[in-house]
């Protein structure tokens, strides 16, 4: 028998259980408790208030704005990244001169830290000296208030995220394309199917799973949006780029309203959990085939 005792194996798992228990399970339970209570920050006195915090959230104009912004950002950024990634993957699937060198270069953005990405783009978005407005003026187009126009700011941040993370959607979809047996794609070519038709009817159904996974994975990640907003707009102008993460941060660490912070954190956790379970189901379904 390979394993002398079950005790030994359980022992191996113990350190991980302890760390995760103390640093994640305990905090999550405490969020759960605080979400249904009112906590005095100084005395730590706890009062059970039932669903009051959630009712207050629904009446909170800032919360509604944060939900709306987070939803728009998640959908717009994830869709843009998956579509652009799909196009790039199709381009890279065929041989071209220098392909070997292009692959590591195009993944550069995702190797940079979010803070470095934000600092580059914050400079590019600068109204007077930024590269983007310089180019726009040179083309004879009006300069833009990239981060200070309430109608534009959220999309400016989505552009940064798209630049940074399209390579990841690209890598996932490219892996899907490369797993298609050669004879299938060749058969489509021989049949004389037009490239676009062959792609829509033969290739796309075969990589459907990877496209879905890329979309889910990017949605889970874009949903967290915090760092870019914090350093590029701080949630403004007004609350045009306020996200759920920013909302939790402001209530927890600036207004010291633990009940509201926990209630909104709980909402975030549930949404994120739902997406993660969906993702896990998709991945595992693929594994059994």
């Amino acid at each position: 028998m390979l394993f002398e005792s079950r005790k030994q194996l359980t022992l191996l798992l113990l350190p991980a259980l302890l760390i995760l228990g103390a640093l994640t399970l305990y905090p999550i339970l405490s969020v759960l408790v605080n979400a249904f209570g009112s906590v005095d920050y100084a005395s730590k006195h706890y009062l059970f208030v039932g669903l009051d915090n959630f009712r207050e959230l629904l009446d909170d104009f800032f919360f509604i704005a944060a939900v709306k912004n987070t939803f728009v950002f998640t959908v717009v950024a994830s869709c843009a990244q998956v579509l652009l990634g799909l196009w790039l993957a199709v381009l890279f699937h065929r041989q071209f001169p220098g392909r070997r060198f292009a692959l590591p270069i195009i993944i550069y953005p995702m190797m940079l830290s979010t803070l470095v990405c934000s600092s580059i783009w914050r400079s590019w978005y600068h109204y007077d000296f930024g590269l983007l407005n310089t180019v726009l003026t040179w083309l004879g187009l009006p300069a833009q208030e990239w981060l200070f126009n309430p109608d534009l700011a959220l999309y400016s941040i989505a552009l940064v995220d798209t630049w940074q993370w399209t390579p990841m959607a690209f890598l996932i979809i490219l892996a899907g394309l490369q797993s298609i047996p050669k004879d299938i794609s060749e058969a489509a070519m021989v049949d004389g199917a037009r490239p676009l038709r062959a792609f829509m009817h033969i290739t796309l159904p075969l990589i459907q799973k990877q496209v879905m996974l890329a979309f889910l994975l990017r949605s889970i990640d874009t949903f967290k949006l915090f760092d870019k907003v914090y350093v590029m707009t701080g949630g403004g102008p007004g609350n045009a780029t306020e996200t759920l993460s920013m909302f939790v941060y402001k209530y927890g660490f600036r207004f010291f309203n633990l009940g509201m912070a926990s209630a909104s954190a709980l909402v975030m956790l549930l949404i994120s959990m739902a997406m993660t379970l969906l993702y896990a189901r998709k991945v595992m379904k693929g594994g059994k085939q």
Binding site: L13, P109, S123, W124, M168, I172, F226, L258, A261, Y279
Partner: protein, 270 residues
């Protein structure tokens, strides 16, 4: 002709994606005067190292050391703990599918927005007296690195054939001997890849360092960049020099990490 058009399109897209990185490198080497006057000129007229000099004269080198130490310690702890647990999860079927449930919970933790646990974590770290310390951050980073390392190592340990271990067991090697002398060397490449990714996670982390570190001499690099950006809007030379220096390891590793990227970023998807 169509072949060339295809190649041209791809390289133009590659150029577009790498342009911000090129701009960062070029701006880091510009003199302060040239940055704002040169308009759209991409490459510096004259290579200037003044941004790097100013950077090195400040607290930046100290902060690099800080961040490196924190990322190393967080990775070391996660790697050790996850090596044991990933092994147990691969080699042993726990009753009532508890192993599957545990893995799913770990995945949920990995994917959840870190801000969710920020307030309770703050009071926990505060009670431990670890606010504004490296050790406090090392502990907090386990929220990211440990779930990541567990999932990543799972795949690498699964690839080790059971027969090798069985042979070792016949020779009388008990569990810890096998772990140290059979499993560990066999998944060393996987451990290295996992360690690099975990280092990157720690090196780039922003939220917890923003919340738990208060004094500038204890800042991590991302926190330093954030502070720099919000305090001085157009000192781009230094900002880009700092960004470049802090990204060099990752840019150098991009080619090597490419084959692990899918495993690393998608957890469970190969």
């Amino acid at each position: 002709m169509r072949r060339y058009l295809h190649g041209l399109t791809v390289w133009m897209m590659v150029g577009l994606f790498v342009l911000p990185v090129v701009w960062m490198v070029a701006t880091a080497f510009k003199s302060p005067g040239e940055i704002l006057n040169a308009g759209a000129r991409l490459w510096p007229e004259q290579i200037s190292l003044s941004a790097f000099e100013r950077l090195l004269a400040g607290e930046f080198p100290l902060l690099i050391g800080n961040t490196l130490l924190i990322a190393l310690m967080a990775t070391g702890l996660s790697l050790l703990v996850s090596f044991f647990s990933a092994y147990a999860l691969v080699r042993y079927r726990f009753p009532a599918k508890l192993d599957g449930a545990f893995l799913l919970a770990v995945l949920v933790i990995k994917m959840m927005p870190p801000i969710v646990v920020a307030t309770p974590l703050y009071s926990l770290i505060n009670q431990l007296g670890l606010l504004n310390t490296k050790l406090g951050l090392v502990l907090c980073y386990q929220v990211y690195t440990l779930p990541f390392c567990i999932w990543m190592l799972l795949g690498f340990i699964r690839d080790i054939p059971l027969e090798i271990e069985e042979a070792a067991a016949m020779d009388g090697a008990h569990l810890f001997k096998r772990l140290g002398f059979v499993v560990f060397p066999l998944c060393a490449p996987g451990l290295v890849a996992t360690a690099i990714f975990s280092m990157i996670l720690g090196w780039n982390e922003f939220l917890f360092s923003l919340l738990f570190i208060h004094t500038p001499d204890k800042f991590t690099i991302p926190l330093y960049l954030a502070n720099f950006m919000t305090e001085d809007g157009t000192a781009w030379g230094e900002l880009m020099a700092a960004g470049l220096v802090s990204s060099l390891p990752m840019l150098a590793l991009a080619g090597y990490m490419q084959r692990f990227l899918l495993r690393g970023f998608s957890l469970g998807l190969k």
